[in-house]
Amino acid sequence: MFTKPKTVAGPAIASIQQDTRAAVVMVTPAFLGLLAFIAIPFLLAIFLSTQNLQFGSGLAPTWMGLEQYRRILLDPLFRADFYRALINNATFAVVVVPAQTGLALAIALLLNRRLRGMPVFRTLFFMPVVFPMALVSVIWKLIYAPDDVGMLNTVLKVVTFGHIQPHDFLGDPKTALAAIIVTSIWSGVGFQMVIILAGLQSISATLYEAASIDKASKWQQFLNVTVPGLRNTLVFVVMVTTILSLRLFDQVYIMTRGGPLNATTTVMYQAVTSAFDQGNIGRAAAITVVFFVLVLGVALIQRWFLREEREIV
């Protein structure tokens, strides 16, 4: 992952001491920041998850062991919410990862041609990436407006010649998560597209030339040149999108508040509501620890995929 640093060869002892002094000063601010705001909170999360800690109650925290985990994972009183959240995150990932990656690949293939004005198209497809997710959620909340005058309802009515009745997309448990999925894909597809486009452009043109001399059809070229050439890019993009799916929060908070009937609640939404609405810091911490374990799992799977690749080549 890291290239080996090229330090000046054989520096004198004096200069090593000077370097050490400079290095300590240079590294200290970053060291303190990483320690205080990542490493310590990370350990604190594990510690807090073993505590019964009611925020704002003024009561001292008491030891609970793994009780918080037992509650969110096993206790019939509490586990339903958490499993609902896990299922929603999983559904979101299972739909968004292939759909968004496929769409990004399709757009990238469309844009990867020599045509006048391609940079303009690329800019337009990338544009939602610079929109804060909070604003994207607000715009789409308006698009999903429930009445017959809402934009999506109007479009559907016109396209189907009036066969589809006005629908409350965010208010119906059956469609709320789907609505959030569409919003998320729209907002994120440009990010993947530019990465895939860069991957496409790094595939040598001679490979395509060679393939076409071999009378490979466009489809065969795609399967045998494009896909292998994009392998690492696609693994990366899929991993990032999967982790983003686990992190899902902003859209849910703004568009549905986890509802209706928990239809759009997510792991992070549960963590935040546990911490705020219920003041239950211990449970919120336990949820984020489980969340981290999931993220770690995804990262390790990606590692494994990339390692296999390295062995082959």
Binding site: M26, P41, M133, M151, F191, I195, F249
Partner: protein, 304 residues
């Protein structure tokens, strides 16, 4: 990749005649194909950006005409009234002011970006180019921390920083030191040729001098990349402000629009005007520096 390397070998051995024939077949696309391409691209792109167009048009429409089906696209009754009413609606310390939200977002983003560039580039230089005991250990720690997402530590951080709630400081301080930024800087510095600094070091320049006068002038691209990535993250930051900010006077823009949408009475025309004003600084910067934006995103992908 192995199956692709066979045809390449064949290219070398092909007779010139065969190669020419295939070239002719691949000469530029015909006019018809170009037309078909545009006929696909233009509608697809328009459909894709229609939510953005919708936001802009709605922001100029009276509130009661935004929800009127396609009627919103009629070019009647356009005005800046929605923009003006944002300033009258948000005019006190109980509601916060739009300039207040904007100022908060600007201060927080600027502090995160500038602080982050200084802190992370220095650390990365020391990791990539200097010899000191503990270097490898620190490097390992940085790599390990890259995979800790902010969400995993948000709750304890909120608990730790309770005393700093409702300040500017709490909104940027935790984000200055960034493992991913250090990693991007590190890869860049480690990849620079050894000869670059050798002459200076032989002449007796110390680590600081080498950093400032040899490394920094060569590192503009990576500074731009890190600045853009940090800025985008910071400008859009939402989860953390939800947790630590409830005072409207230090509320950043994304939190402000979410509070706005959650508290009636409001009109969609007004909200879209708020949205336009909120995204405009970012959008203008993006349109001016779009090559850099796209390059930054690609770099973050390639390096990851």
């Amino acid at each position: 990749m192995s199956n692709a390397s066979i045809p390449r070998h064949q290219v070398m051995t092909l007779s010139p005649k065969v190669r020419d024939r295939t070239r002719i077949g691949r000469l530029g696309p015909s006019r018809l194909r170009i037309a078909v391409n545009y006929l696909v691209m233009v509608p697809v792109t328009l459909l894709f950006v229609s939510p953005i167009i919708y936001m802009f048009i709605a922001s100029f429409k009276p509130n009661n005409e935004v929800l009127s089906g396609f009627g919103v696209f009629s070019l009647q009754d356009l005005s800046f009234n929605n923009y003006l009413s944002i300033f009258s609606r948000f005019s006190g310390s109980d509601t916060g002011t739009f300039t207040g939200f904007l100022t908060t977002s600007l201060i927080v983003s600027a502090a995160t970006v500038i602080g982050g560039l200084v802190v992370n580039s220095m650390a990365a230089y020391a990791l990539a180019r200097l010899r000191w005991p503990g270097r490898n250990l620190f490097l390992l720690a940085v790599i390990a921390l890259v995979i800790v997402p902010f969400e995993a530590i948000a709750v304890p951080l909120f608990y730790m920083l309770d005393g700093l709630r409702n300040t500017y400081l709490v909104q940027f301080l935790p984000f200055i030191a960034s493992p991913f930024s250090i990693y991007l800087f590190y890869s860049f510095f480690a990849g620079l040729p050894k000869s670059l600094e050798e002459a200076a070091r032989v002449d007796g320049a110390g680590a600081w001098r080498t950093f400032f006068f040899i490394m920094l002038p060569n590192a503009r691209p990576v500074f731009a990349t890190v600045a853009i990535l940090q800025f985008m993250a910071s400008w859009s930051s939402f989860l953390w402000p939800v947790m630590v900010i409830d005072d409207p006077t230090v509320r950043p823009l994304p939190l402000a629009i979410s509070v706005y949408v959650g508290t009636p009475p409001y009109g969609w025309g007004n909200i879209m005007a708020f949205g336009v004003m909120m995204v405009l600084p970012m959008l203008v910067m993006f349109l001016i520096f779009q090559r850099w934006f796209i390059r930054s995103v690609v770099t973050s992908g390639v390096k990851g």
